[in-house]
């Protein structure tokens, strides 16, 4: 037996031991096996990239990879990821602290409103921004008689601003989760020990919420890396835009090469994060849940704090909704007539497929989250990290991979709902793994031991003890997947069953035909339905403050 073999076996043994106390039996091995199987299944479609990239000759491939334009988009993409992540943390963390720890008035209302930008698809949000602030936009038209010209929204700053504003809720929500499970007595203790709030926050709170923040920041970073709509609308050149241009130009080989390069960037970010992340704790914290009384009084800062919240909500919700409303009132592009009326079926289809995706993704996430929460081993870490791969590639890449595999190897699945749901699972798995994992970490293993001593089977102990305890994490993960599925466009457009129209494919249809006014109603429905589920999500947080 080679050294590698023993190493691998030892790793698996350790994984199993760590993951499945107090007893070892077949079902433990089964869970680990299922987790590995799921991870492999989810990554495997992307092997298609290598198949397509192989069509490009090695010399040509090298020249593409080191071409000045490729380096440009590389720098642009990395810059955008860094700036969007930075902006999201800068917005998300203070807002989370304000809504959890401070005596901000109307905290609950702000919490819901500040989470809602997540449900505005960035292609709509960016479009609304350009409509408002772009050349010849509403605001420019409004201000030009007064001789005021507004700076351009296009380019790096515009893309950063729009992406940051619409995805910071990932950081906001994960940081909130950490803060909510943080034992505020520690903070109070630190403050009584003569530390000011700021110093106490830095020394006591920050280390505890770092893993939660990091989880949110990772979701933001890879969203920024894989998003196509916003950079394209804001005229900013990123990997994803170039990949799309290549597909539009039928350069599938080049597109695949660039996608592989994108995956390399993903791996690098994950590696760096794991180096940094080791310093922190191991989850979203785990102590007393709930903060009935705020620990920090805002004092004179109350007004600026309110203004800050109002500004963010104004930019992310009021402006898009106002623009959608204006589209509603505006006439179409001057066609004679077109049979593209809105049907409520589209909303039902959207909700239906999003619920399926949410349930499917949580079921797939559970074993992976369980194993990775119960073990610190490399294998367990790798298992969790591998789920980010599908999230970090642009939707079109995954969709075309599944077109190839589906049509040629699983024709009975091709263009059916199960394959579409599978695509969503591949895309959104890390969103569910993250929140599930953190709730599994919070389950005290002694409880399970007690249940087993009282004669429960491992399965019974899981069902009666673990499951109720991790339910909030599962629900939070499901809600995140639900929301992102509601607004997912590229995979939906390519893989939907023929005749199955959803809100986003309908919005796409009317926008393509130039009927922006017709996009307003489905866009508002999309936001409203998603907002309802957001309220449900926040209720599950256990936030009764």
């Amino acid at each position: 037996m080679s050294r590698e073999d023993t190493g691998a076996r030892r790793a698996v043994d350790r994984l199993r031991e760590a993951a499945f106390s107090p007893t070892r039996d077949g079902s433990n091995r089964l869970v680990a096996g299922v987790a590995v199987l799921i991870a492999v299944t989810v990554i495997s479609p992307l092997l298609w990239l290598f198949l397509r990239a192989a069509a490009v000759g090695p010399r040509e491939a090298l020249s593409i990879l080191v071409a000045p334009s490729t380096l440009d988009v590389f720098v642009n993409s990395v810059g955008l990821v860094a700036s969007v992540t930075g902006l999201s943390v800068a917005l998300g963390v203070p807002l989370a602290v304000l809504t959890v720890l401070s005596d901000l008035p109307f905290r609950r209302v702000w919490t819901v409103a500040l989470s809602l930008p997540l449900v505005v698809p960035s292609y709509l949000g960016a479009f609304a921004f350009v409509s408002a602030f772009g050349p010849r936009g509403e605001l420019a038209e409004l201000l030009s008689p007064l001789g005021v010209t507004i700076p351009t929204v296009y380019g790096f700053q515009g893309a950063t601003l729009v992406l940051g504003l619409f995805v910071y809720p990932y950081v906001f929500l994960t940081t909130r989760a950490s803060l909510l499970s943080f034992d505020t007595e520690q903070l109070e203790a630190a403050q009584t020990l003569n530390h000011g709030f700021r110093s106490a926050f830095r020394r006591v709170v920050l280390p505890q919420i770092a893993p939660g923040m990091t989880a949110g920041a990772l979701l933001v970073a890879f969203y920024a890396l894989s998003d196509f709509g916003t950079p394209a609308i804001m005229h900013f050149d990123t990997f994803t835009r170039v990949i799309y241009v290549q597909y539009n130009n039928f350069g599938r080989g080049t597109a695949s090469l660039l996608s592989i390069q994108l995956l390399a960037v993903t791996a690098l970010v994950l590696f760096l994060e794991s180096r940094l992340g080791d310093a922190g704790g191991d989850g979203y914290g785990g102590g007393v849940v709930g903060t009935d009384s705020p620990v920090a009084s805002l004092g004179w800062a109350k007004l600026p704090a309110l203004a800050f919240c109002a500004l963010v909500v104004g930019l992310t919700l009021v402006i898009p909704v106002a623009i959608f409303g204006m589209w509603l009132l505006r006439s179409g592009p001057g066609y004679a007539s077109a049979g593209i009326g809105f049907q409520w079926d589209f909303a039902i289809n959207s909700v239906y497929v999003s619920v399926l995706a949410a349930v499917g993704t949580v079921l797939a996430a559970l074993p992976i989250a369980y194993v990775s929460a119960r073990s610190d081993s490399r294998v367990a870490q790798l298992l969790e990290r591998s789920t980010y791969v599908g999230y970090a590639v642009p939707g079109i890449v995954l969709a075309l991979a599944l077109v190839f595999l589906g049509a040629n190897y699983f024709p009975w699945l091709y263009q059916t709902l199960p394959l579409l749901v599978f695509a969503y699972i591949v895309r959104f798995l890390p969103q569910a793994v993250g929140s599930t994992r953190s709730s599994v970490i919070q389950v005290d293993a002694k409880l399970l031991g007690a249940a087993r001593t009282l004669g429960e089977t491992p399965r019974g102990a899981f069902r009666r003890v673990t499951l109720p305890l991790i339910a909030p994490g599962l629900v939070a993960g499901a809600a995140l997947v639900f929301l992102t599925t509601m607004k997912e466009l590229p995979a939906t457009l390519i893989l939907h069953p023929t005749g199955f129209t959803t809100l986003v494919t309908y919005i796409w249809r009317v926008q393509e035909a130039g009927y922006y006014g017709r996009a307003a109603l489905p866009a508002l429905v999309l936001v409203a339905v998603s907002a309802l589920s957001m309220i449900l999500l926040l209720r599950q947080e256990g936030d009764d403050a």
Partner: protein, 389 residues
């Protein structure tokens, strides 16, 4: 056209519902009653058996006083019968769905299963699906996508009688055929300029005194980028760079798209612009007294004509139905539909475009392989270098 000899019951039935649909279209209603082609009053035997052309025709000021049309009519063709999966790429998908619904009304035995997506995306999809593709017909708004599918060997030969009515440059390989065209054009404000003020050559625009500080364009719009791509292919990279720079130096105004460009010309904000021809027609359809007309350059990138077109997908088990369907897209009725509802250029000579435009054979498009227009990346580089994007 009261001379149809067909005794087909279902066509008579369409007449009854077709009249209702025409009223709906005139009243500006959205679309058609979906899939209830069974009308009710069919079978009475005295309907005359004609397919009403007016139900295909759009409405509005541009559509009044249509000349008499000639060409193959739906009644001349065999019935469409069976189920057809149609990959419907891009833009006017909503309107194309209307036409499919009308076909289904005429032929209750015909079921169209349209599958929408971006044109290039659907082309990539068909190529990835290979011989297992569920698609029977690929109907796309862009020649480049048809060309890519064709090059991948995924298109079947169209029979001669399908394509014979269409000018040859719009079915270059015989495996796809144009169904409607869109021409690059120069919308101009008739209060400010006359047709003689617009140069005949697009390359002369930057040097034309009367157009300085009064032109508009939409550089982020795909059709504009295709136009610059054509210029790059015809005139070369450095001439194109100079042209873009010259337009910038001449104070050209940027608009988000070409509908707004055309609208701004009508408003007198600018005197002229670059836009696909149908945008000016849409403006005029909504505001019939708008001081707006179209000029065309000749034989250069400014006179580019791109097409929407259709292909029968290789390996379909519905080959006959698919060919017959493409033939239906080139009937007088369907061509009138494209001409009067989307203001596109009809592909058959017997149906003139609306709004007094020159017919397609009066235009002088550049000789260029439409498929090469897909190579947009160098164009984007160029436009970014100059600072247009």
């Amino acid at each position: 056209m009261e001379d149809d000899t067909s005794s087909s019951l279902r066509r008579r039935r369409f007449l009854a519902t077709g009249a209702a649909a025409a009223v709906g279209a005139l009243a500006g209603c959205n679309g058609l009653p979906g899939g209830n082609g069974g009308g009710g009053s069919g079978g009475s035997g005295d309907g005359g058996g004609t397919v009403s052309l007016s139900s295909f025709r759009g409405s509005g000021p541009l559509v009044e006083n249509r000349a008499s049309l000639s060409g193959t009519r739906i009644a001349d063709l065999p019935d469409l019968s069976g189920e057809l999966t149609i990959y419907l790429g891009g833009g006017e998908g909503g309107l194309y769905r209307d036409l499919l619904a009308m076909f289904s009304q005429i032929y209750p035995d015909f079921t169209a299963r349209p599958r929408e997506g971006g044109t290039a995306q659907l082309a990539n999809t068909i190529i990835e699906e290979g011989e297992n593709t569920p698609a029977d017909v690929f109907w796309a708004v862009d020649a480049g996508s048809l060309g890519a599918v064709d090059e991948a060997g995924m298109t079947a030969d169209l029979s001669g009688d399908v394509v014979e009515s269409v000018p040859e440059e719009f079915h270059p390989t015989g495996r796809w055929v144009g169904t409607a065209g869109r021409a690059r054009s120069v919308p101009y404000n008739t209060n400010a300029l006359s047709a003689a003020d617009i140069p005949d050559t697009v390359m002369d625009f930057p040097e034309t005194e009367g157009l300085v500080n009064s032109m508009g364009w939409g550089p982020t719009y795909g059709a504009f980028q295709a136009f610059v791509t054509a210029m790059r292919l015809i005139e070369g990279e450095s001439a194109t760079r100079e042209w873009l720079q010259g337009m910038l130096d001449g104070g050209v105004t940027e608009y988000p798209d070409e509908f707004l460009t055309s609208n701004a010309v009508a408003d007198g904000e600018i005197n002229a612009g670059f836009a696909n021809h149908y945008y000016a027609l849409r403006v005029r359809s909504a505001r019939s007294n708008a001081p707006l007309d179209l000029a065309f350059t000749s034989g250069d990138a400014g006179a580019l004509i791109n097409i929407a077109g259709a292909a029968v997908v290789q390996g379909t088990d519905q080959s006959e139905l698919a060919q017959n369907f493409v033939r239906h897209l080139l009937t007088v009725e369907a061509q009138e539909f494209f001409a009067t509802r989307t203001f596109a250029y009809p592909m058959i000579p017997g149906v003139p475009p609306v709004g007094g435009l020159p017919t397609i054979d009066e235009l002088n498009p550049p000789s260029i392989d439409l498929q090469e227009l897909a190579n947009v990346e160098p164009t984007l580089q160029l436009m970014r270098d100059v600072g247009v994007l």
